[in-house]
Symmetry: C2
Subunit: 289 residues, 2 copies
């Protein structure tokens, strides 16, 4: 009997990543030279190679080269960097994800209205560094433990890919630790696509025997998907491509789930599914022999 493979709806590229890649290819076609992306446009080597073929290279420092046009990737960048680039006379093409832009704008709005801004997220993540730069003097990034309260008016926003459960947990802690607040204002800056992918992955993980999570090992949202599956008690493999698929992964499994992070292109997901199917066919043939 063939094993059943269930692909999670919304697995792979999210809206913001798709949009940033489209913008990059569009700019590449229109400009002959001097186009760069500020950091890799996406954590995916194949996409970056394709852009290089069109003359678009990722750079880490915009002072170095003769840059005419610089594309800002989906994560966004800190305010100061943005302004510095503009002062350099470089044309900026902003491919910051609209969800991230919303979080940056709300951070700025809250700071200008006198709120202490708390950002729920990972302080090392580039997206959070960008949002933080808009959040004013008293801003803090909070992940779990320490929540410094300096102001009676607290504004709370989130890294777009945080799970809602985490947001609830931390908001609850803030309210608990903060007796004398005047106002607590929580804006939901979570990305719908991320939360839907998490929910859909959770649903599939509950009904399968093995979960295959596709995406960069350094991709935070992919790691989050893998951790979610593990927490649900299902056997979980976080892989970057079809090469890593191995027959032993599916021993005794009747139903296999596949999900993928926001930086996994469709062709890699397709290859993974084809590989699983091919293993089974070989297995069936083996039995038939």
């Amino acid at each position: 009997m063939l094993k059943e493979i269930v692909l999670v709806e919304g697995a792979g590229f999210c809206f913001g990543v798709k949009r940033a890649i489209d913008i990059a290819f569009d700019v590449a076609r229109k400009h002959k030279d001097g186009v760069f992306t500020f950091g890799p446009i996406i954590h995916n080597p194949q996409v970056i190679e394709k852009l290089k073929d069109l003359g678009v290279h990722p750079i880490e420092d915009f002072h170095e080269k003769n840059i005419k046009t610089l594309i800002i990737r989906a994560h966004g960048i800190p305010k100061e960097k943005f302004e510095e680039i503009k002062q350099f006379g470089i044309e900026v093409i902003d491919a910051t994800c609209p969800f991230v832009k919303k979080a940056q704008n709300l951070a700025a709005k809250l700071a200008s209205e006198g709120y202490q801004v708390l950002i729920i997220g990972d302080r090392e993540h580039p997206e959070v560094k960008g949002i933080f730069s808009y959040a004013g003097e008293n801003a803090f990034v909070v992940s779990s433990d320490e929540i410094p309260i300096l102001n009676k008016k607290i504004g709370i926003i989130q890294q777009t890919t945080q799970p809602i459960s985490k947001v609830k947990e931390i908001v609850n802690k803030i309210i608990k630790s903060h007796n004398e607040f005047e106002e607590i204002r929580i804006f939901n800056t979570l990305c719908n696509f991320t939360s839907r992918r998490l929910e859909a992955t959770q649903k599939v993980a509950k009904e399968v025997d093995v979960m295959i999570v596709v995406g960069g090992k350094n991709s935070a949202n992919t790691t989050q998907l893998a951790n979610l599956c593990k927490a649900l008690g299902v056997k979980t493999y976080h892989i970057e491509d079809a090469q890593e698929i191995d027959r032993d992964m599916f021993e005794y499994a009747k139903k296999i789930g596949v999900t993928a992070g926001a930086s996994a292109p469709q062709w890699i997901i397709d290859e993974v599914i084809d590989k699983i199917k091919s293993l089974q066919i070989k297995e069936e043939q083996g039995h038939a022999e």
Copy 2:
């Protein structure tokens, strides 16, 4: 050995009640006739009798008598009633507590800005009925169980005398039950005096053997004080005046705490303390005999 008596700081009349009584006596002195209070100005018969001596009577229906001036008590009244009274050509003296006024104003502000307003409190309390009238179409009063969410923008305010612990509990429930919120905005409309009195009462209750809680049996904030003390495991008596003090209450007690709700005047608190002291003196004399 004499028993030690500890009086809770801030016991008795709160700022809003003191202010309303001052306003009522002031109006009584300035106006010769036609002055009424809309409902009893305070849940305390002695104060009401004194005002009656000055010609100021409480009424329940402003249509009935030849009313020239009507004093609104600290709890406030619903918006519609306020407007109706004004249309009657009656002079309105608004002694609504500034903390309650703030909650009414924030309810109106949130409603006008498109938030669904949730009021944490007791829906039968006159203060809450007043605040509710300003809170727009989708408003709800929530106490514990049912929290109806109709809108993606939620504004939360509180009856001024709710304990902060209750607010935290309910905000937590709202966040937990409400996945797809756009914004949750919590204004702290708690009365400082009430929360300080609760805190101070809690502190004393933890170090005494018996707590005497003075205030009207129908006073919500006094009942809250009594419940707090009981919850802390201390022997607690909720009394309205010194008459109810009884020697049996203090058997084996070395340290006695006294607190009082917002409608308990200072003279009643003094009488209670004098009564406890006199019992002890009698007891000492008894021992000496």
